[in-house]
Symmetry: C2
Subunit: 430 residues, 2 copies
């Protein structure tokens, strides 16, 4: 049943994650062999520049300039894609790997969010595996837990804080009283931001991850376009402070659940209780909460990125392949995954609203009237002191639907007394 | 590669967990089939009394009075052992299952803690699987995470709060100011305690679980006898209160780590920071912390017991078998697991000590001298007010080795001024 020949890897991408994987394979060769029942070896590698000093000796491995050529080599069993990007070389090389019968291990959430379904179908047809533990929540074994450990559950909800940079910015705003812009600059200097920072602060990276979890949880085709995305760029220090006064923290939280109208997937700032596990999550740590009909609630927490943790996840996948573990990419055959349309949040929730009112008579009354007309009732409302022409107003609503809230937001624009777009943050029930 | 014939289960034990499993298989037949690529069906069941109303219709399943006969039936593929007990029918039936080529799924930590190595060897020889996700930390997929998801790591430490009843008692003492005895009685009435309550409050059940985790983490033979066990029976309200004043909580915490002198496994009350994830764990919830050379630290949290969560874990194993996933019982061939001797905690730690001094002149000085002679230095020391002949004394030490502490404890006995055995609780570094 078990294969004892060496499992031969071709690794494309020798950056943070790729070098982390090389280090583990060199450092733990004996342990990996004990556990896999066979050696795990690297045959060939690829990156952009051959001559870069990467701090590890790569001379034992064949070099390919072209990751597609690497994927096609007949002396590798597994193509390990650690380059990134959802088009171009990563996609081309994965397709080449599938076409030439190689299993794939990747950390590339963008690739799977955009092309997960077509790649899974192709892999299935070719009889090869695609594994991607490292693509979601770094070192946390969440993909395996959802795919396998919790496979006896009908999943009812998946939630997660899955972008360490956003969580770092938000927790540092809270802890230090520094503003969003200052922390954004700090992250840029520390190298915490992607080349396109909107991937992080715009919620796109975390949205990619959520769309992957949704597919496994609900047996649906990955549908990143159906994720309602909202970034953290508009969160101001005063929002953090008001939230804290009320016993909340603001997190960039992903929530996925199946509704009668379709799959609800949203990645947006939310208020969560300060005393909850999600509320207490600090810095770059990630957390995923899975709720199922049998298991109730399981919470997994760990480092969301970094060389060691991400390489640990990649190696989990490699070890599974070495051990002959084979299940469909998203837990059931890709051909049986259902296409889904996106659904707006169906469950009513309270919302936090912050807006600026022009200093005109009757402005507050107009705002209150708009809320009333939309069927949104007010829990608290407060106009804070001001010297300027604009008066900052905070509202916490009672539970209302997203539709009702959107009607109110539209109504505000028509009053002529609300300056710009109000900030609306859902208060999430945990 | 994949088998599409129905996977046929024989379930022995129709109590809390067994009935939970039957319910999932009836409720989620279609979902399980989608995910496994084959139907998962129950062929036969066994329990003590055939006529008991168990709230579910069992008439479709063959009945066996004798679990050994069930295990031997040739119309089952998997023997699901949910009776409990480390000798007698559970062990006999598992041996019969192995002898007749059936895979085994069990929730029985006592059985594995006592006979894990011999069962794993027998299973390996017979080419069958033993899976036991439900045996440790209920619904948390910790066995799978350690065995598979984190298989690329050299594990450096495993810690866990894994007995819900003890955690309930300790957190209720803290929350309500009620004493240990009152809460013990309450647990007895609520049915939270095992038939032999010492399994819970004596730390034995949690120690069983720790010994299983150790085997996977360190590639060693399960060695429950090497677990240093200490229960929560001697923890008093004043300990909880003093700990809280210093910013700590008391938890029945398991810790396993490999040392130069052998495998350190201890299950004992510990002080942990109140603000840490372990410190915040309330009621019956379990938590396991895994530290590895690559992943750093992963924390898993979830319900440690109960019908749904435990059945969820059993079903995770059943689904793995249905999907053809096969790895050695403890992650590497049982014949390659190393025997280990137990090692006392090697790392120095601060300790909390509470003792009663006889009201004799120079008593405090004698205690201080014993500590000094043993090389244990004092961080704080306090004698609380008293009317009685006995003066309660609290000491928090600086970091010292367990050996030094034991020397001091021995020394106290010889002073003639210390009444009874002092309570000594390690302050665990997280
Ligand atoms: N970093 C993390 O903590 C983390 C966490 C989870 C997931 N991920 C994912 O893991 C993947 C890799 O991330 P990373 O942080 O390791 O990236 P990185 O440090 O930027 O490394 C990327 C590597 O890919 C190589 N590469 C890029 N384009 C190439 C091409 N056309 N042909 C050959 N090689 C090419 C680069 O070569 P040169 O070195 O020669 O430039 C570099 O070695 C991404 O999908 C990312 O989203 C990363
Ligand atoms: N309960 C939990 O939350 C939980 C959590 C984790 C692990 N576990 C483990 O799961 C196992 C089962 O626990 P449980 O709580 O479900 O126990 P339980 O409610 O006491 O049920 C035990 C079942 O086994 C049957 N049984 C006992 N001796 C038998 C024998 N000689 N022959 C045939 N059937 C026999 C009993 O039959 P009758 O019903 O006819 O008496 C009963 O149906 C134990 O190993 C336990 O440690 C339990």
């Amino acid at each position: 049943m078990t294969d004892t020949a060496p499992l031969r890897l071709g690794i494309a991408g020798l950056g943070t994650v790729g070098i982390g994987v090389v280090k583990i394979i060199r450092r733990q060769a004996a342990l990996l062999q004990d556990r896999a029942g066979r050696p795990v070896v690297i045959t060939a590698v690829s990156a952009r520049s051959k001559d870069k000093d990467r701090g590890v000796d790569l001379s034992d491995y064949a070099w390919e300039d072209d990751p597609v050529a690497l994927a096609k080599r007949d002396d590798i069993d597994v193509f390990v894609e650690l380059m990134g990007g959802h088009e171009g070389p990563a996609k081309d090389a994965c397709e080449a790997a599938i076409a030439t019968g190689k299993d794939i291990v990747t950390a590339n959430k963008a690739l799977l969010a955009h092309h997960g379904q077509e790649l899974a179908l192709a892999a299935e047809e070719a009889g090869v595996r695609i594994r991607y533990e490292a693509a979601v929540a770094g070192g946390i074994p969440i993909i395996k837990s959802l795919l396998e450990g919790l496979a006896g559950n009908e999943i009812t909800r998946v939630m997660g804080v899955m972008n360490g940079t956003c969580n770092y910015i938000l927790t540092q705003m809270q802890a230090t009283g520094r503003g969003y812009n200052a922390l954004f600059e700090e992250c840029a200097e520390l190298g915490y931001l992607e080349a396109d920072p909107n991937l992080d602060v715009g919620g796109i990276d975390a949205g990619h991850k959520l769309s992957i979890l949704s597919s496994i949880a609900f047996g649906t085709q990955v549908n990143f376009d159906a994720v309602e995305l909202e970034g953290i760029q508009r969160i101001q220090l005063e929002d953090i402070e008001h939230a804290a006064e009320m016993g909340f923290r603001i997190k960039l939280l992903g929530v996925a659940q199946m509704t009668g109208r379709g799959l609800e997937q949203r990645m947006s700032p939310c208020l969560v209780p300060a005393s909850s596990p999600l509320g207490q999550l600090e810095g770059g740590t990630n957390m995923v909460v899975v709720e199922g009909d049998a298991v109730e609630q399981v919470v997994l927490r760990g480092p969301g990125a970094g060389e060691g943790p991400t390489a640990s996840a990649v190696m989990g996948d490699v070890m599974d392949i070495a051990r002959g573990i084979s299940i469909p990419t998203f837990g059931q055959p890709a051909s049986t995954l259902r296409p889904v349309t996106g659904a707006k949040a169906a469950k009513p929730a309270p919302f936090y609203l912050r807006m600026s009112l022009l200093d005109k008579p009757g402005a507050m009354a107009k705002v209150a009237a708009v809320l009333g007309d939309a069927g949104v009732s007010i829990n608290r409302m407060r106009q804070t002191s001001h010297d300027e022409k604009l008066a900052p107003v905070l509202v916490v609503t009672h539970k209302c639907t997203r539709d009702a809230l959107d009607a109110a937001l539209k109504g505000f624009a028509e009053t002529g007394v609300v300056d710009g777009d109000p900030v609306a943050i859902r208060i999430e029930e945990l």
